[in-house]
């Protein structure tokens, strides 16, 4: 497997400028002769589709939702980072870069991260120009807030709905291009396979979710911007429809899958309340700005939190990480929370919860100020739990949220399959082993607005692409495979529902491949998942038929893929014999319980290549070298 990262030469600060200045270009007259497929309409997909169409390419856009505006980026709450240094508090491109590399525990590619930091300011300019109503100071200047893992205030936000507003900005740009006739949007259409012809990605096979029609589409390049796979855990902060099918199908067609075990567990989510639970809503990390996290000092203390005096509270993040306190990075905060709960200090009926307390901030700043910053988050909490966070502290617990792993891409966002580009959370990303807050929105939009327009042009200018058509053999074969698989899912007619399998898979992964992992557990999980996969294909019940809106059938296909992906996650976690970022192996920790990296053996990206149905996948590595920031032990103390 060729894993050449194709990073341009020259000093770190000049790489991207040099690349842009020397990249091959496609003539404006010629752009209209290229067709690009974009799958997914979140921040990365919508921004890429709109920008490429604006450049003159023909763009076909696919999303499974009924409208492009509903992609799950819409739910991102807290904000988007940019190294504008508007606060004059010491921010710079170099600082955003180095914090992101360190936050990712030195498992990301330096040149990519630097480029991301470099582009970040332009994203804010672009979004403001589109009419994104960012929060403002009374002077009319843009406001900022702080976020976990950083000592500067560089996060731009729209109340607690930043993702929604950024997505609507990208969606409106997309709408404009639809009107101009350069984009065609296929909503309620799910990608079920990738077509590779002549060694290049040349199309996709989709299913129309309303009519059930399976169809092949041809193009000159395919862009996957289909998000992450945290839903593999069943209970996560992701939208219920978010899924890994597009990237998993691409993996099976030869795209390398990088670091599948790097999954982020977000520290501030609403704890599970019952067996019927369908998701774990996130409460933005921005709350940790003004909120303090604590548990009672007494084990099993069931007193009302208001009755527990200050002296009997353990503000454990402030105690363990005095440097960053409540703003410690997500992986560290989640693990500390798990630890205090495992030791028996957790609160709530299940004991799986800690207090996130904004009552102090409300008293200090006034209810209005707090409401303005977090209003809709408080309403959401109240809505779900029936408790008022103004008066009593919220209860939170970590939940799967984001996946740093994904399809491997080079500096130009191209996967190991020529012509297959992967953007946003779907790629293995610039976040290494742990993503800092407010960086996902930044990356999605950087990829879509500012990176892919250059790198895709470079690909087209340098490639000789033969004409292809959906009638070609490779297309009809792939289409037939999709139809057969759909028929097979419907033909099992067993006894168990799709959800029951998904819940069981999620429980296995949460137990063995969640916040902490060990070799024995991972081996056990691999066996359990394989057995479960066998049962699925023998005992799943999918009602209805294929020629109709059939939501159970949609879910069944996605869960079938999760049952394969889950095993790869465990395999990857087992092979990585170190602790780094979100990946915490019990066997590799310091005496005070912190993650112990092994830069000698594991300073690399692990990339998996699909073999065949019953063969073990092969593991390759892309070594990581650090020139600007030297790998050091992360310290937030």
């Amino acid at each position: 497997m060729n894993l050449a990262p194709k990073v341009p030469s020259g000093p770190l600060e000049e790489k991207w400028t040099r690349y842009r200045s020397t990249v091959k270009l496609v003539s404006p007259a010629n752009k209209g002769n290229f067709t690009v497929i974009v799958v997914g309409t979140g921040l990365a997909g919508a921004s890429a589709a709109a920008t490429l169409a604006d450049l003159g390419y023909n763009v076909l856009v696919f999303c499974f939702q009924d409208s492009a505006r509903r992609a799950h980026s819409v739910a991102a709450q807290g904000g988007i980072n940019a190294a504008k240094n508007y606060r004059n508090d010491g921010d710079s491109t170099m600082r955003l870069f180095s914090e992101t590399v360190a936050g990712g525990d030195f498992r990301s590619r330096e040149a990519n991260v630097y480029r991301l930091a470099e582009i970040s300011g332009g994203i804010i300019d672009q979004c403001v120009a589109q009419g994104v109503p960012f929060a403002r100071e009374y002077s009319g200047y843009l406001a900022n807030r702080s976020f976990g893992g950083s000592l500067v205030s560089r996060t731009f936000y729209c109340r607690g709905q930043t993702g929604q507003q950024l997505l609507l900005g990208a969606y409106s740009a997309l709408c404009h291009q639809v009107t101009l006739g350069r984009v065609k949007v296929f909503a309620r259409t799910e990608m079920l396979d990738l077509v590779v012809a002549g060694g290049r990605a040349r199309g996709i096979v989709t299913r129309d979710l309303v009519t059930g029609r399976v169809e092949a589409h041809a193009a000159d390049a395919v862009l996957l911007a289909t998000g992450g796979y945290a839903n593999v855990f069943f209970l996560s902060t992701n939208a219920r429809g978010a899924n890994a099918t597009a990237i998993w199908r691409a993996y099976r067609r030869g795209a390398g899958f990088a670091n599948p075990c790097f999954t982020q567990i977000h520290p501030t989510c609403i704890p599970q309340s019952g067996h019927y639970q369908s998701k774990l809503p996130l409460m933005s990390e921005a709350l940790r700005n003004d909120g303090r996290v604590w548990v009672p000092k007494l084990k099993g203390d069931t007193r009302d939190p208001a009755e527990i005096p200050e002296s009997e509270r353990d503000y454990y993040l402030e105690r363990m990480y005095p440097g960053y306190g409540n703003l410690a990075p997500r992986d560290i905060a989640s693990r500390a929370t798990k630890r205090v709960c495992d030791e028996g200090y957790g609160v709530g009926v299940s004991g799986r919860g800690v207090y996130l307390d904004l009552t102090g901030a409300t008293a200090r700043l006034g209810e209005d100020a707090v409401r303005e910053r977090y209003g809709n988050l408080f309403e959401m909490y109240e809505c779900i739990t029936g408790e008022e966070p103004w008066k009593a502290p919220m209860r939170i617990y970590p939940a799967p949220h984001y996946t740093m792993g994904g399809l491997w891409v080079d500096y130009g966002l191209q996967s190991t399959i020529a012509g297959l580009f992967v953007l946003g959370e779907a790629n293995f990303s610039d976040h290494g082993a742990n993503r800092l807050g407010a960086s996902a929105l930044m990356q999605g939009l950087a990829d879509g607005y500012f990176i892919i327009p250059y790198t895709l042009g470079e690909y087209f200018a340098g490639a000789i692409l033969e004409k292809v058509s959906p009638a070609d053999q490779k297309f009809t074969e792939a289409q037939k495979e999709v139809e057969d698989r759909v028929a097979r899912l419907l033909s099992v007619q067993g006894r168990r529902t799709v959800d029951s399998f998904h819940r069981e898979l999620g429980a296995v992964l949460w137990e063995h491949c969640g916040m902490s992992r060990d070799a024995a557990g991972l081996r056990a999980a691999t066996g359990k998942i394989r057995a479960l996969r066998g049962q699925f294909w023998e005992d799943v019940r999918v009602p209805g038929d294929a020629a109709d809106l059939n939501q159970e059938l949609e879910k069944a296909g996605r869960v079938a893929d999760y049952l394969e992906l889950g095993e790869l996650m465990c395999r990857d976690a087992l092979a990585r014999e170190e602790s780094c970022g979100c990946h915490f192996r019990e066997e590799f920790q310091t005496t005070d319980g912190e993650a112990m990296r092994d830069d000698g053996r594991f300073c690399h990206v692990a990339v998996w290549e699909f073999a065949a149905e019953d063969r073990e996948p092969a593991r390759y590595v892309e070594p990581l070298t650090f020139e600007a920031v030297k790998p050091a032990e992360r310290s937030y103390k």
Binding site: D54, S67, R69, V74, Q126, G131, C175, Q277, D548
Partner: protein
């Protein structure tokens, strides 16, 4: 809790559709409304029946997927709440609940509680944007926007495009949806050059899609899960009227081109 549900079942657009009664006996007050439907659906599948099709995704009140009419009220009895955020603690043991899809000429039925809301996308495509090329934006802080203006624009921009305003309007108008977007962009300095043209294009498309006209019933405001105010309708009407009475040059030029 024990509940009796009457749920609208309709195979497809050509089917007439009917209410079907389901008894559900063991739900918890902490469940969300959609989790109750999940529980029902699991049971239906286990009994070899087809589950109820309903739209949902984020389950945290922001994607705008999950609209349905509950006991005659779009998005149910709680103010400012999407269905996914509605919890059973707001119902009583033994309640009878009627669940229907959005009903509007502009939202054709697809199946059970799922309808086609693509008309809202087409309204957005008609003009719900500021035309700006990636790369041409000025430095963000060169455009100062008073806090009050930004906050008001944000109030309008919070629309999730769920369509409850349409479903609740006796005229089937999409006025609140359209006005929210016209106001959001029209309030901001960046939105000025295309302001009036935008208003006209979006309103025209709304008419073309078969939505009715606003006659100030205010039902939309009452059911809007994001509590968007009908004051925005007045604001948008002003832009639309201005443009209709005295078309800006840009618009007339555009209109001529459109006719060609």
């Amino acid at each position: 809790m024990r509940l009796t549900l009457h749920i609208w079942r309709q195979r497809n657009r050509n089917d007439r559709g009917r209410f079907v009664k389901y008894e559900i006996n063991d739900v918890s007050p902490d469940m969300s409304f959609l989790e109750m439907l999940d529980v029902l659906n699991q049971r239906l599948i286990e009994h070899g029946e087809e589950p109820v099709a309903f739209e949902h995704d984020c389950r945290e009140g922001i994607c705008g997927c999950c609209g349905m009419v509950i006991n005659g009220v779009a998005n149910g009895p709680e103010k400012g709440t999407t269905v996914c955020q509605l919890h059973l603690r707001h119902f009583r043991d033994g309640d009878v609940i009627y669940i229907e899809p959005w009903r509007s000429r502009a939202f054709p039925a697809i199946k059970d509680l799922v309808v086609d809301r693509s008309a809202l996308d087409r309204i957005m495509q008609a003009g719900g944007f500021i035309s700006v090329r990636a790369g041409s934006a000025p430095e963000a802080n060169t455009v100062l926007i008073p806090k009050e203006t930004a906050e008001l624009a944000m109030d309008a921009a919070g629309c999730i495009g769920c369509g409850a305003c349409v479903a609740s309007c006796p005229n089937g108008a999409a006025a609140l949806f359209v006005a929210a977007k016209i106001s959001h962009l029209g309030l901001l300095p960046q939105g000025q050059p295309e302001r009036h043209r935008r208003a006209r294009a979006m309103v025209r498309q709304m008419d073309r899609e078969g939505f009715g006209a606003c006659s100030n019933h205010r039902e939309c405001e009452a059911v809007c899960p994001k509590r968007i105010s009908i004051r925005f309708i007045a604001l948008a009407n002003r832009d639309f009227l201005k443009e209709s009475l005295a078309p800006s040059e840009a618009t007339s030029g555009k209109a001529k081109n459109a006719k060609k």
